[in-house]
């Protein structure tokens, strides 16, 4: 009987550790799996038989897939930073749509032109109580690119990507620098015209 008590104590301790770790893992696996499946689904669409179709023809489908995990409104608002308040509501919507299209059009073209990259997703790293980072690698033509997705647990939306880092370069910070530079000498109207111009030329 005496020998059994330490064993029971040890068993209780082990069970408690296992239960708690599995609870944490289950919780973090969900956003990781969702992100992984979103990216794979996007690649399927980009490499489908109609892959040579222009971005406009697949826009709704691409945005529909990405919207499940990417909060573009949050991404653009964060990228504009303090400049966001310079825009009225109509301009905010307009700039959000134009920037989203500009970025997606460029990356869609890049991703669908070559072979399908081989993706690997690492386990999420906790940044804070409501933020995680999922590191991944994409191997394309033998070249490895490190991509990190930063996700926040947003009320009413769940885990959503709010920034993407390519080789450690934050897209949100990079755009924020560009917007800051733009608004030092130019207006919101200039920005909208510039974005439309770039989209037409692409």
């Amino acid at each position: 009987m005496k020998a059994r008590i330490p064993r029971i104590a040890f068993a209780l301790l082990s069970i408690s550790v296992a239960v708690l770790s599995s609870r944490a893992d289950d919780g973090l696996d969900a956003p990781k799996n969702a992100l992984e499946s979103t990216i794979h689904e996007l690649l399927e669409v980009l490499h489908a038989d109609n892959s040579q179709l222009p971005y406009d023809a697949k826009r709704e489908e691409i945005i529909g897939i990405l919207n499940r995990q990417f909060s573009f409104d949050v991404i653009i608002q964060r990228a504009l930073g303090r400049n966001w308040k310079r825009l009225d509501e109509i301009q905010q919507r307009q700039v959000s749509t134009l920037v989203t299209d500009l970025v997606l059009q460029a990356y869609t073209k890049e991703l669908q032109d070559g072979p399908k990259p081989v993706l690997t997703f690492n386990d999420p790293e906790v940044l804070s109580k409501s933020k995680i980072e999922i590191d991944s690698t994409a191997v394309l033509n033998g070249n490895k690119v490190n991509l990190s997705y930063r996700l926040a647990n947003i009320r009413g939306r769940g885990w959503q990507v709010y920034d993407v880092l390519v080789e450690g370069v934050s897209m949100v910070s990079n755009y924020r620098k560009q917007f800051d530079e733009h608004f030092q000498t130019k207006s919101v109207g200039d920005l909208i015209n510039l974005l439309k111009d770039k989209l037409n030329k692409a």
Partner: protein, 251 residues
């Protein structure tokens, strides 16, 4: 024995999510969209780099942009058609293996002796099992894939700042610190002067041109992926450079 049971029960309590605090993520801890946006407005953003010569830099950037798009890109497209990807990869691996002394010196100057020995191991494995470096087989072995270090990163680890941003004709973004580091790297590079192991200036030049031409398709791809979706391509490249260097130094 009672104390053992108490220890187990106590451990259970200690391991509860409340007691774990920040270590265990609280999945019901939700953020409002405004919290995320405020966080962005208040933060200073990415690693900065001073740009007191922005006017001159923008002019050189314009020249480089024209050269990349009108000369290098069409040439690079032709080169890709003539030289297939595996051959380009092999040539790239060969020259990358030859630049081992620069990475080794970068590690030593940062007192990263472990990584310096990993670089040495990588060089030896790739030179032998990788057929003179044409194949990069080292990553197949544990601990033989250290991140690439250079002299500029070593200067940064000593606390030396970028100084200021410089756009170099043809080669693009750099900084005073990294440019000095690049010249320092040449001192241990086996191809260029002063430590050259190659006889004949013509051969040296041919090898250096081969390195640039072979890397060109990749450089053009990266350049386009940054500048095409950019609002201000100059600012995008400058910030991308500053962030990339900061990430490499932190690595």
């Amino acid at each position: 024995m009672k104390s053992l049971m108490q220890l187990a029960l106590g451990s259970l309590l200690l391991l509860s999510p409340l007691a774990l605090g920040d270590d265990l993520i609280e999945l019901d801890d939700l953020l409002d969209i405004d919290d995320l946006s405020d966080d962005a407005s208040s933060s200073s953003g990415s690693a900065g780099i001073a740009d007191p010569f922005e006017g001159i830099n923008r002019a050189i950037f314009g020249f480089n942009d024209f050269t990349y798009k009108e000369i290098f890109e069409p040439f690079s497209k032709g080169f890709v058609k003539v030289v297939p990807n595996p051959a380009r990869k092999g040539i790239g691996n060969f020259f990358n293996n030859l630049s081992f002394p620069t990475r080794f010196a970068g590690n030593l100057l940062q007192f990263r002796f472990g990584r310096a020995s990993q670089e040495t191991g990588k060089f030896l494995v790739n030179t032998t099992a990788g057929f003179a470096g044409f194949m990069n087989v080292a990553p197949e072995f544990d601990g033989l894939n250290p991140p690439a270090e250079d002299i500029g990163q070593a200067f940064a680890s000593w606390g030396i700042d970028h100084g200021f941003y410089i756009v170099v004709p043809f080669t693009g973004p750099s900084s005073l610190r990294d440019l000095v580091g690049r010249f320092g790297g040449r001192a241990v590079d086996p191809i260029p002067e002063p430590w050259t192991q190659v006889d004949g200036s013509g051969t040296r030049l041919a090898l250096q041109v081969t390195v640039i031409v072979n890397d060109l398709p990749e450089i053009i791809d990266v350049y386009n992926s940054i500048t095409e979706p950019a609002i201000d391509p100059y600012a995008a490249v400058r910030d991308g450079y500053a962030q990339l260097r900061a990430a490499r130094v932190a690595e």
